[in-house]
Amino acid sequence: MLQPQQAISAAAAATQAQDPPESGWESATEAPPKQVALAMERLGRAARVIADIRLGADRLLEALLLAADSPQQSTSKTIELIRKEETAMRQHSDDLRALGKQLEDSGVLSGSLKSRGNSWGLHMPLVCPDGAVVAYAWKRQLAGQAGASAVDRTRLALKAFTDQKRRFFPHLEDEVSSDGELGIAKKHFKAQGSVISQREEFREKKSLFDILKDLEHQFPNVRIFTYQRLDWSKRASLLSSANENLIDPLKDQINHASNTRSGSVNIAPADQTAVIELLVPSIFRSVVSLHPAGSINPDAVAFFATDEGGNYIHARGLSVHHVFRHVTEHADKALQYFLSVDNSLSLSLLLHWICSHETLFSKPCSKCGRLLTMDKSLALLLPPVHRAYWEASATNSTQTESTRSTKATHPDNIAAYHIGCSAKMS
């Protein structure tokens, strides 16, 4: 396999050639507006490289599927395809790495530039821990227009802001017109929902609202909340201060929910929901992120203790407790499985699977029959943290025992295993 090695060295040489001129002109000699401009440009490039990587991954999968479907024909062609993709992917990964390093150095990923003294009141764009980009670059327009009148400045700021928004949050495009008027958004959503239910009868492409309502019926112990992406960040940091009085934040949520028109389940308007929180009081809190906002496509999930609070509580964060770390790790696998099995049902399957964890600290392992055991390799005492996900979708079509929804698996039927016990299964 000489070619990949040559490809790597070629890619390395390419990035080497690219790096010196950039790093030579780093932040020490530049004024803040130039730094901000550079950072924005790098973020744009990073987004493009990430998109390229995604496409490359798709192509690789396609090539593999092709090879699997027709093993006799055109093997050499698929091998060529795969080799080409591989070199392209390596190049992209190296580019991304280099970009990431530059972004890190310039303080974009950690927000450190904010605390530096002489920044002319400008802020670097900030990449939040869960991947959302908050672009502050519109402020540079104001700095340059110090002499202009207030009206002009406001107009310029608004223009720059909407440009940035359109660029970084393209899926929020249509809500600009109905900004702040939840009633209109609701009517729009409801009309959409009824049209869909009329059109599709057998294959119910459920809306987010339906999925959550369904979940509420099946699992009465689980509290379900929805948020827009930045709202969740605020809530996460409030969680740590709310630890002493657990009742209050929940009460606020319930009051808020009863004020919104769509009933007890949702808080955020369904077409802006980016984060779903499932809370089983005193057992766990699970955070699911949807991408894009308002869709039923989950892209990350994490579990935490109900007491935990702070900025790290989001769909890509990790709990401080071992038990929840292992559950989260297993949940990542389950999510990938649900996405691969059936994209439109994946959210519903995932949420049902998450809710089955309400017995995390009470249901013994289906293999060894115990609740708490010492895991030999980790040297930790853990309850069964692995819940079976491979059976969940298989029972969809053959479900006859359950008298509730035919699409969901009753939590008692989902087997739980210790880490060591599940390794021996399947």
């Binding site: 657990l246 005193s282 203790a305 071992h322 600290f361 009470s362 708490l372 010492m374 930790l380």
Partner: protein, 226 residues
Amino acid sequence: MPVKWLMHWQPHAGATVSSQILAEVCQCVEGFGGATKEGRWRTTLTFYRPMARDPSSNAATGSNPGDLPRDFLGLALHDRPDAYFFILRHNRLILQAEANVQLLMDKLQSYKARVVLHFEGFQYRLGDFQLRVGKCVPSMAETLRGIMMEVEYLPLSSIEKSRQIMENFFDIWQETLAKKSLPGRFIIDDPNLNFMDYGLHDQYTPQHTALQYATCIAQLMAAVRS
């Protein structure tokens, strides 16, 4: 706040408690999975006795010493250095105050510390569990009065929800200790009945810990006497 269960060492009939047993228990914890030693800890329990006032004034006002509560305990917990807890067992009352209330009591001289006991020892971390093995010693002497353990499960704060996990832990711990064939065993006193009497709820708080210590010392004293 994470749930905590206390257990105390019950020697077999005829056996005594000794520092040898304490060393063996510590050794057992250290070999238990990936337990790491974290440091020392100390909780102090004080038995208060009401100070006898001037007898003439008592006769005049008609109050008798019997009005003043007996069985009055004060606790300084290791994980709450800024607080001090008072327990009146007979009246089922528990109170949390600031730590400098002890200075106040010294000045007021209405109660005198009759017996002061220290629960102290090493602290260990085993994954999501935090274990503390402690000896019970009087403050002015070195004689070992008893051995106890604190088991804390960090991810959960509800007593009810953590019950099974704690019971399981206790079973596993007993199994591990049984290999050492020590003359005695650890016992958990079922704290749930007590908590409701004192007005405490399912959500774990330092008051629960204080109450468990009070129960623990009563049990330890009963064990020593028999």
